[in-house]
């Protein structure tokens, strides 16, 4: 995995360039998926339907979500969101296999610390079988799981980009009495809004990479986004668009720019 030149976001000599990555292609959606087990009310289909339901195996311990792609298929990321792994001492690891018999690790086991979205990047490989290995001491629940090829932005994010994971994540309502003494505070976690703006893309790149992503967003489907997959890999957002996606546009001769607003969740 090479880190592309990223001239527009530069946070210091120690960090170098930041690599923005989207994970939206999902092999689970269009291929044959099997799971070790599933409670009847929480079937495997809940893993990729985009609703706030979840897959739940019948027991704790080691469980797998396996996809048979029919032929060798490339992947370089996996991710989950809406899960309880932290509360059941759970971990997640990506494995691959050519034959569904011999499996190789593609990533280390990752142990989430909370309910945050997880995006695991690994070196691009191509296999017929891919699986997520879940180990937990309590019964795991996972609402969204994905594996496939990530979308890397070849240009950096323009100045003005607000890092979703760093900003305020709550709306507040503060009540005060006649003496201006606070009598109560309510907070509302309604998610965050952030905008991805980037430029200097070739028409060929847009056609091959951005437009398929827009088609995906148009269907209301989700994506995982890491604003700096190389430096801050755990800064991940689960996001969707809340309105019609924007077109890419020519801002200078021969180069297109992208500008897209997202609604995201970081917990």
């Amino acid at each position: 995995m090479g880190i592309v030149a990223n001239p527009f976001v530069y946070s210091g000599v120690d960090e170098g360039r930041h690599l923005p990555v989207f994970g939206y292609k999902n092999l689970f959606e269009d291929n044959t998926v099997t799971v070790t087990s599933a409670e009847s009310a929480y079937p495997k289909e809940n893993l990729w339907d985009g609703f706030n339901d979840w897959w739940q195996p019948t027991s704790n311990g080691t469980n797998y979500i396996t996809v048979d792609c029919g032929s060798a298929t490339a992947a370089d990321y996996a991710g989950i969101y809406f899960h309880n792994l932290a509360s059941v001492s759970g971990s997640i690891q990506v494995q691959s296999s050519p034959d569904n018999i011999v499996w190789a690790d593609e990533s280390d086991a990752y142990i989430p610390s909370g309910t945050e979205p997880v995006l695991i990047s690994f070196g691009r490989d191509s296999f017929r079988y891919w699986r997520l290995k879940i180990i937990s001491t309590g019964v795991a629940k996972i609402g969204y799981a994905t594996i496939g090829e990530r979308l890397e932005l070849t240009s950096g994010l323009l100045p003005g980009f607000e890092v979703p994971n760093l900003g305020a994540k709550l709306r507040m309502v503060i009540n005060s009495n006649y003496s201006d003494i606070t009598t109560g505070v309510s907070t509302y976690a309604e998610g965050i809004e952030f905008t991805i703006a980037s430029e200097l893309y070739s028409l060929a790149w847009i056609r091959a990479n951005w437009t398929p992503f827009i088609r995906h967003l148009e269907l209301g489907k989700p994506a995982l986004f890491a604003w700096s997959a190389n430096n801050y890999a755990s800064d991940v957002v689960y996001c969707k668009v809340s309105e019609k996606p924007n077109n890419s546009r020519f801002d200078r001769p021969a180069f297109l720019s992208i500008n897209q607003k997202f609604k995201g969740y970081i917990e």
């Binding site: 009310a41 339907d49 309502v173 009540n175 009598t183 309510s186």
Partner: protein
């Protein structure tokens, strides 16, 4: 972990859940006892193809507000917005404006898993056909009146159920599909049922043969739904009957309750009547509510009896109802004539009933400006609600005739001293005509007249204020202290108020109240003291607040300058 502990926390995270209870079938399609065949149904009554074997059960659909860090519970996070429209009580007058709530929910294509029990057998992809709500409504045509619970609470890290939530119970009025992929769920309080149902029930049958004015047997087409004895009305002739034999009502006595005996023809309707003789007013109300299909589990009858014993003993009603009328209309009359305060308590899921009496100082919490939200306090005088004369006209001459002044034989009249020229000097009369009191009910008429006048001697005040939800108090009667209420010397004074409307203006955060001042604001109330009580000058402040003392001074003031009492 309770609602009260969570609401007191700074940074609390309000969260809402709505449950709707729809009728479902417990059978499996085409498996005995279900004899239906072909394309499976959806286990709802509206599409059942073997209704004889429909096994009624309840399917609960649970919706929540959409938010980050959603708890992993079986919710559809479709709630976009929710507004609880607080009812407004109308003590001493009517059931008031009803409680309701409107919930705006998202609509979208849905996979039907967890909803359609036979989704795996369908030949189509549910994501391609209809939406969550359009399908739910098509499959559940009979949703009106079904129970809906609204939960308001706070998210906690270890949340596994709704135990720290407050539950409000309503009933589905309608579900409207909007144009923007949303639906509006409108839920209402239980009294809506009494707006729709009538009491007594419409006539079920008619005369199968002529009934002469001298006849003592009425042959009906079908007497099966008539009680074994009672009263029945043919045209304007109210008859009693003593027994029933097949479809014949026997022992007919014509011309009861002031009506005139007359001949009746075949086909004349036989309207059942309902009679009350010295019936406690709470029993009358309970009978009407139950006749309106309101389940008795929502009527806290023991509480009503306690209130009746303490304050409503004069109200034993004597009446005859000889034509169907809306249940809410009848109850409104009783509320006004018995000075009641009735409302649907969505939180306790029951119909509350109180006597509308002044707030007792010793039993009420004092609300001060310290807990009111800045700039939220406001009050208006309501001079149009003031009373100086009250006339109760009662004892109907002919119960088959109209309820009007000319058809009554008794009148109780009471006059307040507000008609004194040095006070308002103007007459504010109110006349109420009662079909619930007969000649034996003078005490009831007197109590109502006096209570109504006492409540409205001075300008009633409509008071509005807001509080953070952590300062919410149970109950409806409070004392209110605000710099806008002062005595002659400018010192802040406390006035008794009854809350007529309380709603969560910002759910889980801000309470908005409307209250009315009860009793003459300057008046001092108390109850009769026990024999052990000492002189006013030596008794404690608490006892002075609670009990009535008699002043030996010629002026209506005590030695300390405070005013005289009025006995409750």
């Amino acid at each position: 972990m309770t609602f009260d502990t969570e609401k007191a926390k700074i940074g609390r995270e309000p969260f809402y859940v709505v449950k709707i209870y729809l009728t479902s079938c417990d059978n499996t399609f085409s498996v005995s006892p279900c004899n239906a065949t072909g394309e499976p149904c959806f286990n709802a009554f509206g599409n059942c193809r073997d209704v004889v074997n429909f096994a009624e059960t309840t399917k609960i659909y649970t919706f929540s507000s959409s938010r980050e860090k959603l708890p992993m519970m079986d919710f559809y996070p479709f709630i976009i917005d929710m507004g609880i429209i607080a009812g407004k009580r109308d003590p001493g007058k009517s059931l008031g404006k009803r409680d309701s709530a409107q919930i705006l929910l998202r609509d979208m294509p849905h996979h039907d898993r967890g909803i359609d029990p036979y989704v795996s057998q369908r030949s189509y992809d549910p994501m391609d056909q209809g939406t969550f709500w359009t399908k739910l409504l098509a499959r559940n045509k009979y949703y009106t009146g079904k129970k809906c619970e609204v939960y308001v609470g706070y998210l906690t890290d270890d949340m596994s159920d709704l135990s720290n939530f407050e539950k409000y119970t309503y009933f589905i009025d309608r579900i409207d599909c909007n144009n923007d992929n949303t639906v509006t769920l409108t839920v209402i309080d239980i009294f809506k049922l009494s707006d729709r149902a009538t009491y007594p029930a419409e006539a079920y049958s008619e005369l199968a043969a002529p009934l002469l004015a001298s006849g003592n047997t009425a042959a009906l087409v079908d007497a099966s739904s008539y009680p074994s004895s009672g009263h029945v009305r043919f045209n304007n002739d109210i008859c009693s009957y003593s027994s029933k034999s097949g479809n014949d009502l026997t022992g007919i006595v014509h011309g009861q309750y002031g009506s005139e005996a007359a001949d009746h023809a075949t086909g004349d309707s036989a309207q059942q009547c309902h009679v009350g003789v010295n019936e406690d007013c709470i029993d009358t109300i309970k009978t009407i509510l139950e006749a309106c299909d309101i389940d008795s589990s929502y009527i806290p009858y023991a509480d009503w009896q306690t209130e009746f014993s303490a304050w409503l003993g004069d109200y034993t009603l004597n009446y005859l109802l000889s034509k169907p009328e809306k249940g809410s209309k009848l109850i409104n009359e009783i509320i006004e004539q018995c000075m009641l305060n009735m409302w649907w308590d969505a939180k306790d899921s029951e119909i509350k009933l109180d006597a509308f009496i002044p707030v007792l100082p010793t039993s009420a919490v004092t609300i001060t400006q310290d807990v009111m939200l800045k700039d939220s306090f406001d009050y208006k005088d309501r001079p149009d609600d003031k009373l100086s004369q009250y006339a109760m006209v009662y004892d109907l001459r002919d119960y088959s005739d109209k309820v009007e002044f000319e058809n009554c034989t008794s009148l109780y009249f009471s006059l307040s001293d507000n008609s004194d020229p040095l006070k308002d000097g103007e007459i504010r009369p109110k006349q109420v005509i009662s079909r619930w009191f007969d000649e034996t009910n003078e005490a009831a008429a007197r109590t109502t007249a006096n209570r109504a006048l006492n409540q409205k001697l001075e300008n009633p005040k409509l008071i509005k204020f807001k509080m953070d939800i952590r300062h919410e108090q149970p109950g409806t009667d409070f004392l209110l202290q605000n710099p806008k209420f002062v005595d002659d010397f400018g010192a802040t004074k406390t006035i008794p108020v009854t809350i007529i409307s309380a709603k969560q203006e910002v759910l889980g955060t801000t309470m908005s109240y409307e209250a009315i001042s009860t009793g003459a604001v300057a008046q001092r109330y108390g109850v009769i003291a026990p024999n052990t009580m000492g002189l006013y000058t030596v008794e404690s402040d608490a006892n002075r607040q609670k009990y009535v003392f008699i002043s030996q001074n010629s002026e209506p003031f005590f030695a300390d300058g405070t005013e005289a009492y009025k006995i409750l």
